[in-house]
Subunit: 398 residues, 2 copies
Amino acid sequence: MRVFVAGVDGYLGWSLAQYLVARGHEVAGCDLLLRRKWVEEAGSHSATPIRSIEERLAAFKDNFGKELIFREGDLRDYDFVLEFFRLFQPEAIVHLGEMPSAPYSMIDVHHCNFTQTNNIVGTLNTLHAMKETCPQAHLVKLGTMGEYGTPNIDIPEGFFTIEYRGRTDTLPFPRQAGSWYHQTKAHDSHNIMFACKIWGLRSTDIMQGVVFGTRIDEMGDDERLLTRFDFDQCFGTVLNRYCAEAVIGHPLSPFGAGQQKRGFLPLRDSMQCLTIAINNPPEKGQYRVFNQFEEVYSVTELAEKVKRVGNEIGLNVQISNIENPRIEQEQHYYNPDHRHLLDLGYEPTHNVEQELRIMLRDLSRYRSRIEEKKEVLIPDIRWDGTRRKSRFLAEASR
Amino acid sequence: MRVFVAGVDGYLGWSLAQYLVARGHEVAGCDLLLRRKWVEEAGSHSATPIRSIEERLAAFKDNFGKELIFREGDLRDYDFVLEFFRLFQPEAIVHLGEMPSAPYSMIDVHHCNFTQTNNIVGTLNTLHAMKETCPQAHLVKLGTMGEYGTPNIDIPEGFFTIEYRGRTDTLPFPRQAGSWYHQTKAHDSHNIMFACKIWGLRSTDIMQGVVFGTRIDEMGDDERLLTRFDFDQCFGTVLNRYCAEAVIGHPLSPFGAGQQKRGFLPLRDSMQCLTIAINNPPEKGQYRVFNQFEEVYSVTELAEKVKRVGNEIGLNVQISNIENPRIEQEQHYYNPDHRHLLDLGYEPTHNVEQELRIMLRDLSRYRSRIEEKKEVLIPDIRWDGTRRKSRFLAEASR
């Protein structure tokens, strides 16, 4: 199948291109390489030493014997998107090309506006270009479980059938996103749902949980194929940050009470799930939602897992909660459905500890790169608009 | 009270400034005067001959003895918003400064992107500037009943308490907006709700029905005070378009089957309701939603009212449905709540026929201005992305 990957230089995109080409798909992708700049702006770098896009493309060809058709360009530039779709004629479009950080979007009004316009316009251009050039293609759009927030009821996959005052309807599940970034994913979902309805496009909107991991098997021993691994407050996801902390002897730092529950999945499962979505397109006009995660954990449960595995392999891992820079519920009900992907054949990894062992081993090779930027591990971007480093709660309460 | 009106040169804004100053409020406002350009782009002009902003401001001073503090500027320019709020220190901010047309937003990808970025960034800048300069102020934000779409259950005012799988929560009512423009209002609602939650701002989000009318009493006999009255496919609302059609002997043209139901209210009721909202601010951190309309009618019922009143005063009014350029349900359940404003003292006009008499009389004076642009009465912007004039259904079926 001809698969277009927007954001192919990113954490997920670069992995997905390899995962797909190894399974016989033809892959094209675009990127504006902004993630590299944003992480630099956040004062950090990838723990894994990632290569220039040119070197990456050469490594791709060397390892897989096929080109990754690549163009540097901006999804906000409609003509760029239109021309690329027209030439490549994608059968599936995987849209991973958005600014993916909640804290980055909360820095100030300019970062907020950039995040909202970048993400919304990129998706609107994608929808319009699909309508013009490949209306039969399947848009696999990366959303986030964070769109739903933490309601006090079960979270279905996108839609629910409810009775209200004696009448019944099936409606989109309400979105209560917790950052300007998460809001963009909710806005995208609404826009995509509308485009499917009026133009007969087809889309799978992926409400993905928090991804962790350093690699997929396809990367093998060629360091040039490694995907990026961020550990800063903006672009490092929680479990990835814990692992970076563990390898340099920094205490794992859950936010606040640490009882926030989220859905999590390893990078390899994310690749498996996206590929299942690609291989099983929806009907024309259908907009469907997959909740994509392996299991729900609290951020404290995960810290304890990292501690256990880290101590097994000889690291001395401590946990020390810090002030929560976010405004969010720290103790809440959380029970999201995740049947759709399982019904299509998703086989979850389940063994988080095994994945953590791989991660800690990989990251140990890059300990000095994490050490070099270790000050980015403790957040200072606060949801109340101020900028102040979170203190360890043990210190703050003294 | 010091009230800031964004979009003060518009249909509602110019009326509201007069309504408020006549009731002792101090009013400041901004506008980029884009509505004038958009209507020109749509090939039309206001039926009422509106004056330059300078002449308007002079007329305002002449009639009300007080200045309307005005600056021309762009809500997308954060520094402009910040400085104006800092100087004026508003206690209430009425945000009417968005691109308000569904068809305009559906023209093409560029109009879609403009609409979404203009509306979203203007609101985000307003929220951030409030937080910086006047966090106690009350944001009265113009949304639309169109955010909800036409679900098969009752529509509450913003939130509903539901039971789902044995648990209960109060959640935002799902939004299913029917154009790129209506989507922006849903996006705004989500963004504002979030800002109230994290920053303790207070806001009333107005889900307004379709407004009709040529005047409010404050405009008296000074033609310079008249508000604009659009009748083109983009900026003319349905009942206003019917009245323009009636005075030039053009058949009233409901879309499709004509059983689309919407909430409607006269311009004078809109002013009354907005003022009630301003005078009764919510608590700090509270985000509340008012469904703002007087009564629900189908677009055919309204056409019949215009026909009846028009024929009474000697016009020869016919009704002839046209092909629906939109993709929407033409027959549906519709039962939205509208208690909040009534509970705060809203006294609906109720007498639609009386309002129609005033409108037809006012518009008769400007018959030639409508005649001159009558080709804009029949839409050609279609939701499927094509551009083709709707035919009368009687002709189309021959």
